[in-house]
């Protein structure tokens, strides 16, 4: 090894050793544990059980329920964030008054710890001391009052709305940054050439915006699918498992019942889902990194 390389590695290794030891290695180990019967407790022998965990998952009604809730939650939140975010980004791209206020306020949900977002919305949905029920009462809609987070039919939609609130500003600001990257001259030239708004969006805006859209919706989906703290605080997965996201289910399996292997298997299924849904995007990003 020459001196340059030795110097380079001496600078790199202090950073790489902890990452390799405490995130890469454990992740690989975590994937492996998903094929074992690992349990909490001292000196528990670990046996490789092949696909037994997955067979059990397939027959586990709670898993199916959590899986479905997780997909509904992740798709609903991601899609709403994207559609509303795109609308808002094009709105904020116009010379409107109060635009600065929208951009400043947008920082709050983004910076807030997820636990605090959960607490705040618990106060909004509170059956007695909550803003929502009181607002309904004052506007003569008292008949619509609900125990929003405790009711089987409203819990999941209520939680999804919080998810949207928490992530919408971020998606909006990123899309706005993308829109601002679209060249104004191109737009104006197209307008002069007689292209209508829809045509201009398709021919000028979209090609420039598409990579940003792909990146932010993919990341949003991954984050939402793997989300934990927000719903943990809001409902803890209840009522009756109606808001039990896959991560909450895995957390309970692992740290309440000590079923490490089973929880890891669930984690593996989640990775698989993300790979199936977003494989094309990930491959592209990895190629860019290379």
């Amino acid at each position: 090894m020459n001196r340059d390389a030795r110097f380079a590695y001496s600078l790199l290794i202090p950073a790489l050793v902890p990452v390799a030891a405490l995130s890469a290695a454990p992740l690989i180990r975590g994937v492996f544990l998903g094929f074992t019967d690992a349990r909490a407790g001292r000196h528990q022998p670990i046996h490789v059980t092949g696909l037994a965990n997955y067979q059990k998952l397939l027959e586990d009604e709670q898993f199916w329920s959590a899986f479905k809730v997780g997909l509904v939650w992740a798709f609903a939140v991601t899609i709403c964030q994207f559609l509303l975010g795109l609308g808002l980004a094009s709105l904020l791209n116009q010379p409107l008054r109060l635009r600065w206020l929208a951009r400043t306020l947008a920082l709050v949900p983004w910076a807030m710890p997820p636990v605090v977002v959960g607490i705040m919305w618990k106060l909004v949905y509170h059956p007695d001391a909550g803003l929502l029920n009181e607002a309904l009462y004052r506007t003569g809609l008292g008949g619509l009052q609900h125990n929003w987070l405790g009711d089987f039919t409203t819990a999941l939609p209520a939680v999804i709305l919080v998810g949207i609130w928490a992530g919408l500003p971020q998606t909006t600001i990123v899309l706005l940054a993308g829109l601002q990257g679209v060249q104004r001259e191109l737009h104006e030239a197209a307008a002069v050439d007689g292209a209508g708004a829809a045509r201009r969006f398709r021919a000028v805006t979209w090609p420039a915006l598409a990579p940003v859209v792909l990146a932010i919706t993919s990341l949003d989906f991954i984050w939402n699918f793997n989300s934990f703290g927000l719903v943990y605080v809001l409902t803890g997965g209840g009522p009756g498992g109606r808001t039990m996201l896959p991560m909450l289910f895995a957390y309970e399996e692992a740290f309440r019942f000590g079923h490490y292997g089973y929880a890891a298997a669930l984690g593996n299924v989640m990775v698989l889902v993300i790979l199936v849904l977003l494989g094309f995007y990930l491959r592209r990003r990895l190629k860019e990194a290379a």
Binding site: D4, F7, P14, I119, L131, W165, G229, G267, L286
Partner: protein, 282 residues
């Protein structure tokens, strides 16, 4: 831009402002409610019809939140864990980022790939083995254990971010210093590091926020209440509800948001970019 009459234009403006107002209300109302709740006294909280503006505003909830040992201690824990992990992250990332940019090594691509790949895995896959490893070396239920976890988790992103800043430093400066007889480490310490100051600040702020806001690892890895970080303690308070407790809870929640909010305001310009790198989780 297009040819449209003044009337359609007015309608368009009205529509735009209505949409903007809707967005602002949606963003602001839960916050206003949180702030309002934090200023209500316990008697007002149990009233049948709560009002938006507290009738008898009081700072009592803030005093309770501050003096109640748990919250103050947890805030201190959060501060220690987040600052230490931010500092360590930057100290380790700075030389590594420099090496990634200035020397060709076979590690560059895997490192950048890792920033992306590490995003995919649900934390449960990571936390079980981590818990076992930390237990084996008696680091579960210690602040140090949590700090180490946070450092490894923010390092890949810190590397990604800092190397962008290193690229912005002209090589000639370093070469000039080398000609003047500075050793390579001196060049790094005395020429590169000062020029990277803005990048180091931004990176450490990101690392601080992610440690300050983090919940899952802190929940699993720390068991003693004396060590719990702020999000964990706040989440525990939610369990022991009782309407009268909502005031201090709201006050504590607002205080817990302040540091991240201030830092985010400082980072404003870099936020969109950071998101796309997958660094700033919403």
């Amino acid at each position: 831009m297009s040819i449209s009459g003044p009337k359609t234009k007015t309608f368009k403006r009205i529509g735009q402002y209505t949409a903007l107002a809707g967005y602002l209300v949606f963003l602001a109302f839960p916050l206003v409610w949180l702030i309002s709740t934090s200023f209500k006294d316990p008697r007002e909280l149990v009233e049948l019809h709560p009002s938006l503006i507290p009738r008898h505003p009081t700072l009592q909830n803030y005093v309770t939140a501050f003096t109640e040992q748990d919250l103050a201690r947890s805030a201190l824990n959060s501060l220690i864990v987040a600052s230490a992990s931010a500092l360590l992250t930057v100290l380790l990332a700075l030389p590594a980022a420099y090496a990634l940019v200035r020397f060709r090594t076979r590690l560059s691509t895997p490192i950048l790939g890792w920033v992306l790949v590490s995003q995919l895995f649900p934390f449960v896959l990571l936390v079980i083995p981590l818990f076992l490893i930390l237990k084996a070396v008696a680091l579960t239920d210690t602040r140090f254990g949590l700090i180490v976890v946070y450092v490894t988790w923010s390092l890949p992103f810190a590397l990604w971010m800092l190397q962008g800043f290193v690229r912005g430093i002209p090589r000639e400066l370093e070469e000039a210093a080398a000609v003047d007889g500075a050793s390579r480490l001196q060049v790094l310490r005395q020429v590169v590091a000062p020029l990277l100051a803005p990048g180091l600040v931004a990176t450490s702020l990101f690392a601080f926020i992610s440690g300050w806001n983090e919940f899952f690892f802190a929940l699993v890895l720390l068991k003693s209440p004396e060590l719990a970080t702020l999000p964990v303690t706040l989440a525990r308070f939610v369990g022991v509800e009782g309407i009268a407790r909502l005031g201090p809870l709201a006050a504590g929640s607002l205080l817990a948001t302040l540091p991240s909010l201030v830092f985010f305001a400082l980072l404003q310009r870099r936020l969109a970019e950071g998101s796309l790198a997958g660094a700033v989780k919403g």
